[in-house]
């Protein structure tokens, strides 16, 4: 047993657990379909269906017009991130049930390494898939430049870490995946729907706009939307929180979720 240091009790375990998430994902093709195809189908069907009924409030005033497929584009990226985070964090329940987790818990690693390995693994998968989707951007008229691509990448990393850690926090105490599905339908999906991904807060009724204002994902989607239009300008359409505000809330949310996850894992030994 080597001497205990930050490298042996945190860095090595995190890298190892992180790599494991990616390797497992690559070996399970069905997960790729679930996490990437579902949002695309969603986006195409709903986007095309609502295309003619949708008109952004205030759009006439500014003379801007926006296709619904284009409007829903950043939100669909958020959905891909959310779906992947859900699938990847459900695996902690399987790890526990199948026995892999017991060996990790009994190993001389910092408890935060267990969180970081899983969350970074999940976030990696989410970001890569969202970037694949981003390649479709030119088809919809979403302007993409090197600068906006880099900005989107940065925001995706932040949002993916936050949502993965949220998933971890929910999945850690659970002993069955059924429970997770209930939470997913009751909390995570509404969280996405009320994030401005689907419709802007400006068109929503008062109470809904309130929920959207306190939903952390609203800020993630707002940051993504503004990152996409970083160089082109405009595109944001309806009133959004400022880019800076959206980034600050998203980073804060991610930090909070990771910290809470680490706390929950430590408290159980």
């Amino acid at each position: 047993m080597p001497k205990r240091s930050l490298r042996t009790t945190f860095v090595l375990p995190v890298l190892s657990l992180w790599r494991r998430e990616v390797v497992r994902f690559v070996r399970q093709r069905s997960r790729l379909v679930g996490a990437l195809a579902t949002p695309i189908v969603f986006w195409v069907l709903i986007g095309s269906g609502l295309r003619n009924s949708f008109r952004l409030t205030g759009a006439e005033a500014t003379g801007e017009s926006m296709d619904y497929l284009e409007y829903a584009f950043p939100g669909t990226m958020a959905m891909i991130v959310l779906f992947t985070a859900i699938f990847a964090t459900i695996s902690i329940i399987e790890d526990r049930r199948e026995g892999f987790l017991q060996a990790v818990i009994a190993a001389p690693v910092r408890r935060s390494a267990i969180v970081c390995g899983k969350v970074l693994g999940s976030a990696t998968l989410a970001v890569v898939q969202a970037l694949l989707f981003l390649l479709l951007a030119p088809l919809t008229g979403v302007p993409l430049t090197v600068g906006s691509f880099a900005a989107v990448l940065g925001v995706l990393v932040i949002v993916a870490i936050g949502l993965s850690a949220l998933g971890f926090l929910i999945a850690w105490p659970m002993d069955s995946t059924q429970g997770f599905h209930a939470i997913m339908n009751l909390v995570l999906l509404p969280m996405w729907m009320l994030s401005g991904a689907f419709f802007p807060a400006s068109g929503a009724s008062n109470w809904l706009a309130w929920i959207m204002a306190i939903n952390p994902l609203t800020y993630g989607v707002a940051a993504l939307r503004q990152a996409v239009y970083l160089d082109a300008g405009g595109g944001a359409g309806a009133a959004l929180p400022s880019f800076q505000m959206a980034l600050t809330v998203s980073v804060g949310f991610a930090v909070l979720m990771v910290a809470l996850s680490a706390k929950v894992v430590s408290s159980k030994g």
Binding site: M1, P2, K3, R4, S5, R7, T8, T9, L12, P13, L15, S16, L17, R20, V23, R24, R27, Q28, E98, G99, F100, Q102, A103, V104, I105, A106, A107, P108, V109, G269
Partner: protein, 315 residues
């Protein structure tokens, strides 16, 4: 602190809510010995296993492994103990060598040293040519061997195994005991294993018998068997209850009815057989004389058999 016991517990007690799973257990395993924790399922073995591997914090009392306290020095315990879980702990989507490397990384090992140590162990367990195979393609017995190799990877001073022979055929089971003895003799590794198989316990240096959360006896297999006076006679007859009564009235022996037969513990059992048959002519169908086994010791101490419940859920 090489003279510290490898494993020591003092008044170790654990409760799950109201239920007392461990009741003031005082246990000691010498360095470089093999200790079997023998007992029925539900007797407290797995609770003790979880405490010694830091997966469970005990309610009361103390426990130390390799000289480190399981409460205060949890990370030091984790670093010095090798664990073989009863429930599989491998990732079956990964190959054998990938599992070994992940395990090594969790224990702070990396690079060439990790790779050569992994291959050395896999070769030792006859898995050298399966290193690149996914764990899911291995038979249950081979997976158990990977579990064992994984537990030994970081050269632990103390090896703790939970029902290690689960899923092993008798040949592989004997091979496991040979290997634990080799580790003990060559590297001074202490092994502590839980088992409900008396023949397995028989091959250990020390046996600690655990029943209903209490440690009811410890000693070498021979000394434990020596606590039973001489031989064990099993008398088959048509009315065991009646015969048991009559035999204990007539001779000064303790008798017991078990599985439809009368069981008598008696020194120089073979000399007692003619007396018994002459005393109850025509009533006895057969008499078997045997040396006491650990199962007899368990029965003698607890009044019930090791295998009574036969269920697999331990806690």
């Amino acid at each position: 602190m090489p003279d510290d016991p490898a494993v020591q517990t003092t008044a170790l007690t654990h409760r799950y809510g109201e239920r007392l799973a461990l009741d003031h257990v005082d246990l000691k395993a010498k360095r470089g010995s093999i200790l079997a924790l023998l007992g029925p399922n539900g007797g407290g073995k797995t609770t003790l296993f979880k405490i010694l591997t830091t997966l469970l914090v005990p309610s009361e009392g103390t426990a130390s492994v390799a000289g480190f306290d399981v409460r205060r020095d949890r990370d030091a315990v984790r670093g010095s103990v090798g664990i073989v879980f009863q429930k599989p702990s491998l990732d079956d989507k990964l190959s054998v060598i990938e599992n070994m490397q992940n395990q090594g990384n969790l224990y702070g090992m990396s690079g060439k040293g990790l790779r050569s140590r992994s291959m050395e162990l896999l070769e030792r367990f006859g898995l050298g040519d399966r290193a690149g195979d996914r764990v899911a393609t291995l038979s249950g017995g081979l997976q158990r061997r990977v579990e064992l190799a994984k537990g030994l990877l970081h050269r632990p001073d103390v090896l703790i195994l939970d029902e290690p022979s689960t899923g092993l055929d008798p040949g592989a089971r004997a091979g496991l005991m040979d290997y634990l003895q080799e580790l003990r003799d060559r590297d001074g590794v202490t092994s502590l294993l839980t088992t409900h198989l008396m023949d397995e316990a028989d091959r250990c240096d020390q046996v600690a018998i655990l029943d209903e959360g209490r440690l009811i006896a410890t000693g070498t297999p021979a000394s434990l068997k020596g606590t039973i006076g001489g031989d064990v006679l099993t008398v088959r007859c048509d009315d065991p209850v009646l015969l048991s009564q009559k035999a204990s009235d007539r001779f000064d022996v303790s008798t017991k009815v078990l599985d439809g037969a009368v069981r008598i513990e008696r020194d120089r059992g073979h000399e007692f057989v003619p007396d018994l048959i002459e005393a109850f002519p025509g009533e006895i169908n057969s008499v078997t004389v045997g040396r006491p086994t650990l199962d007899d010791v368990f029965l003698h101490l607890t009044g019930h058999r090791l295998w009574d419940n036969g269920t697999d859920d331990d806690s």
